[in-house]
Assembly symmetry: C2
Homo-oligomer: 369 residues x 2
């Protein structure tokens, strides 16, 4: 008889706490890792996390954790599956920290990878000299809508029905899904990590919507409806341009990406003659407030970890990304940071100079030239 | 005895009506030209324009015009000084229309030129085969704050104290000022047209402030304070970047441009530790509402006629203009127009390939290599 699957959740933010508690309540042995020990002291003291859930009977109660640690060594020692639930900006650091302790057969899942998270993770492990035969996968989006209301508390508002996941190489996606299925039957096969990476709607919506409403966000501290009042005809024209650039880059790589319009219809049954109308026809967007300021992951995560790699792929494969580049540049100015340098550039991903067929071979079969 | 100076005012918008009426009330023979005859039918019927003025005793009453016409031939026949008061987008057309009728000794003044208006005007006259020895000059800003409340009415809120003006070549600026002085002692010598063109504050403030508040403008129809609520720390960081690019380009051309901070202090005695603070310390900005929509000259005039030539000069002389370029691109997307093509590019200005010393010789002495 197979022994029970041991989960380690990396990251004790809103999402990580919800996932750790939920897995524990499903009966799995769960270790929770967080870099900063102080941040999880409350959970350690209580021995777990109190979870409430709006849509799941099994997602209620006290999720007792097997261990809470800030030692990566300890976090990975017993793990079969490592669920990484940290901002994408931290993926590379986590890879560096994990590299020395990984063992053959372990599965690591970025929840989600944003754009090229799994590729960056694998490249970083390789650079760190890690030779363990692990599988790295990424999801297209985070499975929960969740929030943490206290140090050892989490709340799940909604669990998504279908979340695409792809491993690198794609030949191992099925193996990851098999292992995850008992806990998360919602994960479905994304064709390969270029699909999960390029179907990144946050990249299109978040930074542009934030920057084209920068004055309003800062002068009202976000006191307006982010989508309903922030998206107007001119703003949506910019979103449509960014979306067209994203989908064109995907097409150049042989990937049929979902357009923002298609996604709004699939995810929310929201339709319209253009993005402006479709967004206003999405009841789910009513009531969502804007961020309180511009020091927000809509810029500091979505720009370097999503728009920068999308633009970098566009450049390497000859697709113009003038709209995306303008948004990235404005973000650089606003944050006084060179996101072109700190972001996921192709050299950091190990993709510099690859032909399209070499890139495809890499994501499908894991073989680099 | 010298005969009386005859003025022709080209353009019967808010500004043109105020200027025509004011010149008439000062006692000059004034012809008012407007391309669309229907637009000035009311003025023609009444024979002049009723002017009210907040700050000038001579600016009150009915300004009787010598002629109101939509024939350029007639407009220029008796003109000594042609005051061109049209959006900068129309300068080139006006030059084409005027070219066949110009006579030696006539003076043409663009009120204002925005960036490189006089250079474009002279180049267009040359292209049209005009050989008349005319002087073309541009002002750095429009002399009045004015508004037209009815077909044959104008109102002057304020007349500026000092308005830089430069002729092309600069050796003829003094001659223009001499002729204008009896009517407009407020005009002062700008060093050359690169100074008047590069000290363009609207270029820095208008498009960026509009785009970084696009959602708010469109969702509130401009119902907020354009400067006071629209300028925030992030927005001002973008303005500061654009301003630095402008001033750096000017420096590369040997021009000491006024910074936006210096200008706020000079024009409004508004100071601060940065643009955000200085703008909020300017009482003059309180109460100014935003444009009602994005179909506004803050984009369709300031982008192609100001930001595009500034960026084009930057490119030719090796100064990076990434901030300006981002704003131009977003404007292109929002308006579905290629402002890089329709705007004042160096080929349209006749400046393509000139060295800095050739450019300087041209604006100072009127000699092209």
């Amino acid at each position: 008889m197979e022994r029970e699957t041991c989960y380690t959740v990396v990251g004790a933010g809103h999402g990580g706490k919800a996932m750790a508690a939920h897995l524990a309540l499903m009966g799995y042995p769960v270790t929770l890792f967080n870099r900063t020990a102080a941040h999880v002291a409350g959970i350690q003291a209580r021995g777990g996390i109190q979870l409430t859930s709006a849509d799941s009977k099994d997602g209620q109660g006290f999720g007792a954790l097997r261990a809470v640690t800030s030692s990566m060594d300890q976090a990975l020692a017993e793990a079969d599956i490592v669920m990484i639930v940290v901002p994408a900006c931290a993926h590379q650091d986590i890879a560096r920290m994990a590299a020395p302790y990984l063992r053959d057969g372990q599965i690591l899942v970025l929840n989600p990878g944003r754009t090229c998270g799994a590729i960056e993770f694998v490249h970083t492990l390789r650079q760190e000299g890690c030779t363990a035969d692990v599988i790295v996968a990424e999801t297209g989006t985070f499975i929960y809508a969740s929030r943490s209301d206290g140090p050892a508390q989490a709340r799940i508002f909604r669990t998504k029905d279908a979340v695409p996941l792809a491993a690198i190489p794609a030949t191992r996606t099925a193996q990851v899904l098999d292992r995850l299925c008992p806990a998360y039957p919602q994960f479905i096969a994304g064709e390969n990590v270029l699909h999960t990476s390029l179907n990144n709607m946050g990249a299109i919506f978040h930074p542009a919507l934030t920057l084209l409403n920068a004055g309003r966000i800062e002068s009202t501290h976000g006191d307006y409806q982010f989508y309903i009042e922030g998206v107007t005809s001119s703003v949506s024209r910019v979103l449509e341009t960014l979306d067209r650039e994203r989908v064109t880059i995907a097409a150049a790589l042989g990937v049929r990406a979902v357009t923002a319009m298609e996604w709004l219809q699939m995810a929310y049954d929201a339709r319209g003659s253009g993005l402006n109308e479709a967004i206003h026809n999405n009841p789910g967007y009513y009531g969502i407030k804007a961020p309180a300021n511009l020091e927000h992951r809509y810029i500091f995560e979505d720009v370097p970890m999503s728009l920068v790699p999308i633009a970098a792929l566009g450049r390497q494969y000859g697709v113009q990304t003038k709209g995306i580049e303008s948004i990235v540049r404005l973000a650089c100015i606003v944050h006084g940071t060179d996101y072109w340098r700190t972001g996921r550039t192709l050299d950091k991903l190990g993709l510099l100079g690859l032909s399209i067929s070499e890139l495809t071979t890499y994501v499908m079969e894991g073989i680099l030239p």
